[in-house]
Symmetry: T
């Protein structure tokens, strides 16, 4: 039946390339210890500026996974 329960955790992924890469990295890290990742919601987009001018793209995500 539809008595499912999901849990959401929050991760912040960082990448020097793009927000999509930051999210992918955050998801792959979350997936190392969790099974059943189902969806994610972007909560905040920020960035850091290194002294050499490079940008670190930072994406804060809520990641939902199904509880058995």
């Amino acid at each position: 039946m539809s008595n499912k329960v999901f849990k959401k955790i929050t991760v912040v992924g960082c990448s020097s390339e793009s927000y999509e890469k930051a999210i992918e990295f955050g998801l792959s890290k979350a997936g190392e210890s969790l099974r059943g990742l189902a969806w994610f919601e972007v909560k905040e987009l920020r960035g850091g500026l290194a002294s050499d001018g490079n940008i670190e793209w930072q994406a804060s995500l809520e990641v939902a996974f199904k509880l058995d």
Copy 2:
């Protein structure tokens, strides 16, 4: 004294009956691995629509429990 600390986790409970049942199911699932559930806050109410027209009531909750 009052130096208590609570932790909050986020769960999404689903039910084919009502939001209250969705919340109860989410709480009972959270209670399987956690002691000391104290209160919860409803963060979002959504729903899914199955192809037969049945509704899945989905409630996203922050559940607080006391840390020892």
Copy 3:
């Protein structure tokens, strides 16, 4: 490179003195089981009123720590 990932947890610290003390207590409790605390964000400030008129300062925090 900058492929870092942080995880955020939410704690509610309580103190009979001030919001800063409530936050410090929440952080020190979180630090007992987590390494690499990096920053925190205050999400809500509330308080309880005991029958003797004393105030319990309650601060809800998202605490971020680096995943290895």
Copy 4:
């Protein structure tokens, strides 16, 4: 003419049955001292967890009533 003025008060109703019962109880309590209740807006849904596992459904409402 349409120079009406309404006042809004905020109440939190609690029930052991459902959010609708919590709202009804909050409205009936507000109606004891106020005439002309016109509409209400749900501002927050929360809940308490008793030690026996029973849920207290808590609904925070803004209730509007017409000033004469």
Copy 5:
């Protein structure tokens, strides 16, 4: 592939019974002219108070359906 597009419309369903009934009525009305309803998000819960004290439960929903 995953190049899907959904459209969301907003409806307000009303019922004299409960929020779930208000939502069901809003969805069934939306379903009369739309195919492919997929999910909904509750945006606001309000209510009207009739002079006889009866409550009209009002739920504002965003309903998403798939575009062909």
Copy 6:
């Protein structure tokens, strides 16, 4: 010294002319029973549509007044 306390109440003023008139009417009604009105904050602007097409401008305000 600066140990002042203000109280805020919420009123909804309505006018067939403009939002400014709706606010003025709400404030003048609030001023009938309260002294020391100090400032107000507009929380919501809405409107009603009569069957003859006339608009009722509705402004929801928090009005602050000084407690003695």
Copy 7:
């Protein structure tokens, strides 16, 4: 009975005079193709600045109308 359903659409009305005129124009345009307009909610107030310094008042509205 109270099993009513409303639909909301979003329009942005523009006027060189005032926000009230911008809203009126948006409502009258919406009323050309819709019957049963019931209420509206102001979602955003913005404005454009022409090179001659004239202001275009822009009001974003959700307009609700009753579904038969």
Copy 8:
């Protein structure tokens, strides 16, 4: 049983010392005319700057008290 109702009022406390003092002063003023204060929620933190450079700490609170 749990059919409790609370009412919330909003006060703004001001102090030349700290936010905690501003809150305490607002609560003690609210407590002069109300019994059963139960909890409070901080809604806004602001401040005024006197011409001599002194800061007035201003905290806007929703204070909840139990209705008999």
Copy 9:
């Protein structure tokens, strides 16, 4: 004159590549039935996780188009 009116609709575009592709796909789908698309506002960024680990980028947009 400046008596323009725009209408906004909400679409959710999905893509297996990036948020920009998801938005482009949503806009091109909206453009099939609408003329005069003028601007869009990103309301939410989410994503789905397929069982093979592929990400579906999902962007919720309000798209504004000019009414004649």
Copy 10:
């Protein structure tokens, strides 16, 4: 091409007449030192109440202007 950059500043305009006049005054003051004002967004509407009952309409605006 479209590599434009705008800067936004925040001003609060005040008027004894209306919100539109408050906004116009804020914009004209901003225009004294800035060229290329392009659009504005209303962030908050408040008001002050003088002891003689006159209202000061206060509008907080983000004003965008193009950087060369």
Copy 11:
């Protein structure tokens, strides 16, 4: 008359002592280059965690000052 205009800037003050100290330091820094500081609004409270466990209290403020 009341045709005043204020400008708001945003500063983030940091202190190793408390949020009040962080705000005071931000205001005193803003006051070095600006005259007529009138009020401030706290927008965000965060903190950094040094490796020695010391907390850096960080307060983000909008500071308003009067334009001549």
Copy 12:
């Protein structure tokens, strides 16, 4: 010590390529007149639609830089 102060300004960067390019362009423009850029926060993502169907990606950012 940690008595640092940052100032935040708001810029809107535009690009015909992607949000990342829009942000980079906004940051590089801000960096022409400011030293010590430290981090940025994405506040809004929008876009313009040219008559040829090309998209202008628009990102509104708060950029923080350290005050000496």
